[in-house]
């Protein structure tokens, strides 16, 4: 009776896990084994005293698949909590990029000017290169990197998304 929604949506899944050996492999093994997407992934300890780490995964799929991802991740023994932040409501999702630009002359000046407009910091400078540090939404990082492309973009290192619910609520 119920029709399935076939539209593909993006979702930010936040997972609080026991910080034990192999826990990340369990989570990503589940994603690859069941054919779920991982667009970006971050993981770091968040509660040292309680041995907890937080994994943030940006994924995409039909609403049914996203619901399955949440349920399947919830099955894993070392998982405390799992939340689909996109479904929970307003949330902040940020990532950081280190962007290396190698250029000189006009292109170098232009790169610096655009970096200022994006509030990117030059964390390393040589006569022929910059390393910019930029934090923000994924789209902002994407457009900064696009603008740097003709200006001597040499290398990019990105963290993937860290996300948290807005307001007093927690996952």
């Amino acid at each position: 009776m119920t029709m399935q929604d076939e539209t593909i949506v993006s979702a930010v899944i936040s997972i609080l896990v026991e910080n034990e050996s192999g826990v990340l492999a369990r989570v990503i093994g589940l994603f690859s084994g069941r054919g779920y997407n991982i667009e970006s992934l971050t993981v770091a300890p968040v509660e040292q005293s309680r041995h907890q780490s937080r994994i943030n995964i940006v994924t995409s799929g039909t609403p049914q698949v996203i619901e399955q991802i949440k349920a399947q991740v919830g099955r894993l023994v070392p998982v405390y909590r799992v939340a689909n932040l996109t479904q929970v409501g307003p949330h902040v999702a940020r990532e950081m990029a280190l962007v290396k630009v190698v250029s000189s002359g006009e292109a170098r000046t232009e790169a610096l000017r655009i970096a200022e407009a994006f509030r990117a910091r030059a964390v390393d400078t040589t006569a022929t290169s910059f390393v910019f540090e930029l934090t923000g939404a994924t789209e902002k990082l994407d457009s900064f990197i696009d603008l740097m492309r003709p200006l001597g973009l040499a290398e990019v290192s990105r963290t993937g998304v860290a996300a948290i619910i807005r307001g007093p609520r927690t996952i």
Binding site: M1, T2, M3, Q4, V17, E18, S21, G22, A25, R26, G29, L30, G33, Q64, E67, Q68, A71, Q72, G74, R75, L76, V77, P78, V79, Y80
Partner: protein, 608 residues
């Protein structure tokens, strides 16, 4: 580097306070087994588990059954678990011991069977050095288990071993691996009793939400064409849950069908039971599933073998789905009332609500539904014609029927295991199960070679019962070495081989889908099963025609020891009824005369 063992782990202050005797890790492990109520384990020794085998040698509380292959150890433990409701326990060595166990572990995972498998591992300082018989067991079994552990510190051993049992048996049961480095089992380790504190992150929900059950029962009361669709979750919930299911089915007057895994939860000989549903289910069960207006799924998971073509599965029904595992709900089929909880608790709550809520289903509508079901039943979809001329070829269905009837005449408690294929489906269709935990078959994974080691496990658990492996000649050769285990422990297992000299189900699909090109599906160079039996100290028997069948079955049942009965059956028999892959429940093939009528779609050909 983790090559340096942390000496702090061995300091006395981390030990069980008050315990003056220093135990080795192996002894701690055995104490855990005893505290967990384990009386038998299935295993195979090797270098990395020698300390544990040494500790086993020095005690009598835990019996060890030596299998002939580690895969068989897991299947035997699975059958032990399924036939007793207890956790099955396995002990194997590192490297090949662990990798051989993997098939059994996945089998237990797919069928939700509680198993704890202890694997030896090279000592912690050697891990990662490609040491002799080293394998990344936790890495390999991560997706093959419900959970797994590598014990790196002696202080963790007792806690982890207890926790493994808790995780294996609670929630949706499943296999748990505990990888034990040799230095942990040799060295001193503190004992700790099982913790009563709840697990920090693992808290399966067993108690259903009352509100969901209220909504489910309200829909059941309005139903005009209701159907219970029951699965292995009810068997896992225990005999009380099965007994409660019987009360619910009788109280509501609804028809009941079951998955392969659920057979025996409700008596299969009862009038309200429609037979198994799905690919080789009965006509009435599948047509009722297709035509019902309220479908009550209890402890089942809408497996593709059950649903057939998804967009045509039970198209007009209001669907209620109770499962202990939230991930099973809305995984395959979107349902109207999801209920998360233990099947037994859900059924008890449904019974309460049925009494509490006013009204009852329209008796006229229910009467009409039963008339319709009886009309479908009249098709007799499991019917076959057996030529009773003594020299006639035995049809495999007839062999299973006679086995059932003659086994019942003995009045003995009977357990049936199977291998995988046509014989498995014929056993499911023609053997009857009026009690739970008597039917031991590999459902989800479909593991050929399951049945003989499963019979070992069931017979060890129930030494006085009649244990029969209904087998095919191809499947049973995959673990035939277990005749050695059967001989060593004098297990009176009856291996009943429906020998059609083909991998029958493969041959059937090749006939229906691949132009009868029987590519590699002929069982060439078969052994003489009588002499094979004799060489393993068992009795061998053979029936080649109908006239010999009953005598062979009777002789097999009367034999106090193990028997291999080679039942030579029709080679070209196909398993019917059948829903061809990619077809809907109302597009069943009832027999060979219909084979030309339903064309398997291009999509169907891609399905397994």
């Amino acid at each position: 580097m983790n090559a340096t063992p942390n000496l702090n782990d061995l300091k006395p202050n981390t030990r069980d306070h008050g315990a003056d005797i220093v135990l080795s890790g192996a002894e701690v492990l055995l104490r855990v087994l005893v505290e967990q109520g384990v009386d038998v384990i299935f295993g195979y020794p090797g270098g990395a588990v020698l300390p544990i085998y040494d500790a086993l040698f020095k005690q009598n509380a835990v019996r060890h059954i030596l299998v002939r292959h580690e895969q068989a150890a897991v299947h035997a433990a699975e059958a032990y678990a399924r036939s007793t409701g207890k956790v099955g326990v396995v002990l194997v060595t590192s490297g090949p011991g662990a990798t051989n166990a993997v098939t059994g572990l996945v089998d237990a995972l797919m069928d939700s069977i509680p198993v704890v498998c202890f694997t030896g591992q090279v000592g912690v300082p050697l891990i990662g050095t490609d040491a002799f018989q080293e394998a990344d067991t936790t890495g390999i079994t991560r997706q093959a288990t419900k959970h797994n552990y590598l014990v790196r510190k002696p202080a963790d051993l007792a806690r982890v071993a207890h926790e493994a049992f808790h995780i294996a048996r609670s929630g949706r049961p499943g296999p748990v691996v505990v990888d034990l480095p040799k230095n942990i089992s040799v060295g001193p380790a503190p004992y700790a009793p099982a913790s009563r504190a709840p697990h920090p992150s693992y808290r399966p929900r067993t108690e259903p939400e009352r509100e969901a059950v209220v909504r489910a029962v309200a829909a059941m009361k309005r139903a005009r064409r209701p159907l219970f669709y029951t699965g292995g979750g009810i068997i896992n919930a225990g005999p009380q849950a099965c007994e409660a299911l019987g009360r619910l089915v009788r109280k509501t007057g609804f028809p009941c069908t079951s998955t392969l895994m659920g057979l025996g939860a409700y008596p299969t000989t009862d009038r309200q039971f429609l037979g198994m549903l799905g690919m080789h289910g009965t006509y009435e069960a599948n047509l009722a599933t297709h035509g019902c207006d309220v479908l009550v799924a209890l402890g089942a998971r809408f497996d593709d073998r059950v649903t057939g073509r998804l967009d045509a599965f039970s198209p007009d029904s209001f669907k209620i789905h109770a499962d202990i595992e939230p991930s099973q709900i809305n995984k395959i089929v979107q349902v109207d009332v999801p209920i998360v909880g233990d099947a037994g608790r859900v059924i008890e709550m449904m019974l309460e609500e049925w009494d509490r809520q006013d009204g009852a289903p329209d008796p006229a509508a229910l009467g009409q539904w039963w008339q319709q079901i009886d009309a479908w039943r009249g098709i007799r979809s499991l019917h076959f014609d057996q030529d009773m001329t003594p020299s006639a070829i035995i049809r495999p269905q007839h062999a299973v029927r006679r086995l059932y009837e003659l086994a019942m005449e003995t009045g003995r408690d009977t357990f049936v295991s199977t291998e995988v294929g046509q014989h498995q489906m014929w056993a499911a269709q023609h053997f009857q199960f009026d009690r739970p935990n008597r039917w031991l078959t590999s459902g989800g994974l479909g593991t050929m070679g399951y049945g003989l080691p499963a019979a070992v496990g069931a017979q060890v658990a129930h030494p006085d019962a009649l244990v029969i492996d209904i087998a095919g000649e191809a499947s049973t050769l995959m673990n035939i070495q277990e005749l050695g285990t059967i001989a060593q422990y004098r297990l009176p297992v009856k291996l009943f081989i429906l020998n059609n000299q083909y991998m029958g189900m493969v041959r059937q699909w090749q006939e229906l889908l691949h132009g009868s090109r029987y590519s590699e599906s002929y069982s060439a160079a078969l052994p003489d099963f009588i002499r094979l039996a004799e060489s393993f100290h068992a009795k061998g028997m053979r029936a080649t025609c109908v006239g010999e069948l009953d005598d062979v079955i009777r002789a097999m049942l009367a034999e106090p020891g193990a028997v291999v009965a080679d039942i030579c059956v029709a080679q070209d028999e196909n398993c019917y009824p059948m829903i061809p892959s990619g077809a809907a429940h109302n597009q069943m093939l009832l027999g060979p005369e219909q084979e030309g009528e339903v064309k398997v779609s291009a999509e169907g050909r891609m399905l397994v």
